[in-house]
């Protein structure tokens, strides 16, 4: 990883749709070099994927998102890993993290309705061995995701000229 790789990651993290020629101009190299650097970063799984940031509320999608926190008794030898990998298998678990504090794992769970989420948590998650406690927080509104604001903001206008 050199400065160019680092710059490439910085640019793609903000906008992975940037065309090769623009990336090449900004990184001061050929389009071929950008493509091969990107391929290398994908191969090394430094780039894990390319997704769109979608404001589902605006898309009038009726789904419900919840943050579910779990307290867990870790396993001898494996710690949290095996149980985390089991939880990650559920397709409606959109993200999963180990965290510090009162709870150990934090899940982002998607469901069609609140009932959907509640029954998923009680039937599939809370019932697992080693889960000591759960806390489910239904998300009411998203204001900012991955550094992007989900609301419009009127900023002060700059003068067209200044020195």
């Amino acid at each position: 990883m050199d400065t160019k790789d680092n710059d490439l990651l910085f640019l793609l993290e903000k906008d992975c749709t940037l065309p090769l020629h623009e990336l090449a101009a900004m990184l001061q190299c050929s389009e071929e070099e950008v493509a091969s650097r990107r391929a290398m970063l994908e191969e090394e799984k430094i780039i894990r994927g390319y997704t769109a940031l979608i404001d589902w509320d605006r898309a009038k999608n009726p789904s419900v998102m919840a943050i579910v926190e779990l307290r867990i008794t870790p396993e001898h030898e494996y710690g949290y890993d095996r149980i985390a990998e089991r939880i990650a298998r559920f397709s409606n678990v959109k993200s999963l993290r180990l965290q510090t504090g009162t709870y150990d794992l934090q899940l982002l769970v998607q469901g069609k309705t609140m009932h959907d989420v509640a029954s998923f948590v009680s039937e599939h998650i809370a019932s697992m061995d080693r889960i000591k406690e759960t806390a489910t927080h239904i998300i009411m509104k998203t204001y900012k995701e991955n550094g992007v604001l989900y609301y419009e903001r009127e900023d002060g206008k700059r003068l067209p000229f200044s020195f």
């Binding site: 710059d7 623009e22 900004m26 990184l27 067209p160 000229f161 200044s162 020195f163």
Partner: protein, 401 residues
Amino acid sequence: MANDCHFHSEVISVSEQTTKHISHLARTIPPSGIRRYFDIAQQMEDIVSLGVGEPDFMTPWKICDAAISSFEHNTSYTSNAGLPSLRNAISQYLDQRFGTYYDPDHEVVVTSGVSEGLDVAIRATIDPGDEVLTVDPIFVSYAPCITMSGGVSVPVPCLEKDQFRLTPDAIMERITPKTKALVLNFPNNPTGAVMRREDLCSIADICVDHDLLVLSDEIYAEMTYEGDHVAVASIPELYDRTITLSGFSKAWAMTGFRVGYLCAPKELCQAALKIHQYVMMSAPTASQYGALEALRGELDDVREMIREYRLRRNMIVDGLVRAGLSCHMPQGAFYAFPSIESTGLSDIEFAERLIREAHVAAVPGSVFGPSGAGHIRCAYAVSRSDLSIALERISDFISSL
């Protein structure tokens, strides 16, 4: 006024009456060379402006938050020189970042931006008739400030063939027995040129031999893209004769806060402080708290903005060259300074037609001094999407000529 002016002739006489109160200085000092373009830009809806010399980023919120919080506990003047905690922070920052130490108690003054800093620095050092060498092209305020002090501004050309750096020969050609000071502004607005250590060393001897004072405006220091910025005062021979001016406007995106600083050896600094205390009293208090927060901890927000500027710089230079212009690679600040001589137009004509026909605003180079002629200043402190649009329009415009 007791009598209403119903008649045109009376209005004129009133206007003349009023005009005569205006000083010779205010009457004769030339207005900013950009007013005309400003008026054109105001009338158009879809201008993409590369004419703006300020960051397009919002001030990092922790800075705004600190400024806002300050209103809850301190809305008084600060000491004339600025909050002691801020002067300490500035002193530490300059020492750690650029290897220049200034005593926070006697050698740092917090000013209302570099604009005020340069005014008080010039007033504290320039007597009527003194000649002041200024790099050319340079930020527009220097010559008028020197004139307002009764000094004579002498432009020293920094040419494209030297990557717009200041050369010892160019200085030597313009030194006279009346030469008092040399004004440096690197990284340079408008060219983006930087002075490397060897460049500064090569002019240090001249400054010593001719006993010149150096005023160094280093507001773009953090925006140095290849290698580290070399502070003028970090050259040992120059430290004692240098007044360093800088501030928070550019790197921290704090233009509206109006907060900067002036640093110099004690005697020079105290002379500037005397003038500052009469004309400004102290820099805005809330802004000083914002600046204090700006220097606290890691400068991650600054680094991220600088990275973005560097990538945009590569993008704009690539785009301008593709459009058919020759453009040196600026090493600092956030301006590209392409030559437009190949188009056969003057920089004034080019800028005016560019805004009228292509709806892209840029500043003619000659606004920044005679050596800027034949170039335009394109600020890349705009979003990449706007930059893309501007580059496309510039390319189409040049093809249409």
